[in-house]
Symmetry: C2
C-alpha cells in the first residue's frame, strides 16, 4: 500500500508542469494533469470519428499516462524540433523511475500504455495522438491563437506538425480543424 | 463534430473550479480537473485492493466525469452537511445540460457513468467513492493537514465522513489511512 501512496503523491508533480496554453478565461497556464483529464474525455467523445475501430479504454489509459515523464523533463511545445530524441530518452528514464515505484503488475501496465503511445503504431495509439495534438490547437482556435502568437508559431508549422497525426487518427476532426485553421490564418492569429 | 468541440471547450470550466486542497509544493488551490485525472490513476493503482472484483475501465470513466456538475455548482468540501440534497439536484441539472451538448450516444454514456457514481450501489461505484474520498485526505496527510486546519475540520469529522466509504470500497486503504489519521490527530493537524 505504501508504494501506491508514494506513487500517487509523486504524480502531484504533474500538476506543477505548465504548458504553453492558457485555459479559456484564466490567466495562468494549463498544467499537464488537467490536460490529460481533458483529452481522455475528448477521446471518448470523438470515438465515432476514430479512423479505425479502437478499444477506447486503452486509448483513455494511454492519454492519462502519456505525459507523466514530464514530471522529470518538463513540457516542451509540440513545435520544438531540437533535441527530440534526447527528450524522448529522458522521458523514458522518467517513466521507468515513476512507474517503478508501483508493485510490478501495476507499474508494468502503466508502462505498457505509455510505450504503446510512444510507439504510435496501434490504431489506439494513433487515435490517442490525434486527440492529444488537436486539443491545444482547439484551445488556440477558441482564444485568438494565444499560444501561437506568444511563441511565434506560423500557420504552416502548425499544419505540418499536427495535420498528419490528426488526419491519421481522426480524419473528420482534421477536416473540421483544417478549415478553421485557414480562417485563423486569414484573421491573423499566427506569426507571419 | 461541432457538438463535440463545444462540449470539450465547456469542460475547460472545470479547470477553474477550485477545491480546498493545495497541490503539494504549490501555493494555489487544486482544481477539479486535475483532481479527476489523479484519482483515475489512483483507482488503477489500487485495483488489487478493491473490496470486490471491479471493471476498472468503468471506475476510471466514473472518476473522470464525476465532478463535471461542479462547472455550474462549484466544489463543496466533503465535510459540508447543509444543503446536500439541493446540491445534488443542481449537479444533476448541470450534467444533463453539459452531457446534453453531445450527440445522444456519447452524452448518454457519460450520464450513465455519472449516475452510477451518484447512486453508489455497484462495486465499481463503491470503489470509485473510496478513491475519491481518500485522495484529499492523503494530500492532507502529506502536507501537515493544510485543508483540515484552514477549514476547522476535526479528526472525528474526517473519520466519520470518509471512513465508511473508504472501508466499503477499499478496506486495505482504510486500514492504512486510519492509523495515519490517528497519528496526525496526535500531532495536532486537526481542529480541536
Amino acid at each position: 500500500m505504501q508504494q501506491v501512496i508514494d506513487f500517487i503523491l509523486e504524480l502531484e508533480k504533474l500538476k506543477a508542469v505548465t504548458r504553453k496554453t492558457r485555459p479559456l478565461g484564466l490567466e495562468r497556464y494549463e498544467n499537464s494533469a488537467e490536460h490529460s483529464w481533458q483529452i481522455a474525455l475528448l477521446a471518448a467523445s470523438l470515438l465515432p470519428f476514430a479512423a479505425a475501430p479502437v478499444d477506447i479504454d486503452r486509448v483513455v489509459g494511454m492519454l492519462l499516462v502519456h505525459d507523466i515523464g514530464e514530471i522529470d523533463t518538463g513540457d516542451t511545445i509540440v513545435y520544438a524540433d531540437e533535441g527530440l530524441a534526447e527528450r524522448k530518452a529522458a522521458e523514458r528514464v522518467a517513466v521507468m523511475r515513476i512507474f517503478g515505484m508501483l508493485p510490478d503488475a501495476q507499474g508494468a501496465g502503466f508502462l505498457a500504455l505509455w510505450q504503446e503511445f510512444e510507439d504510435g503504431a496501434s490504431a489506439e495509439a494513433q487515435f490517442a495522438h490525434a486527440v492529444d495534438r488537436a486539443m491545444p490547437a482547439l484551445l488556440n482556435l477558441a482564444n485568438g491563437g494565444q499560444s501561437w502568437r506568444e511563441n511565434g508559431i506560423t500557420h504552416a508549422r502548425v499544419v505540418a506538425r499536427i495535420g498528419p497525426p490528426i488526419k491519421a487518427g481522426c480524419p473528420a476532426l482534421w477536416s473540421y480543424m483544417e478549415e478553421r485553421l485557414n480562417e485563423a490564418q486569414r484573421t491573423g492569429w499566427f506569426a507571419a
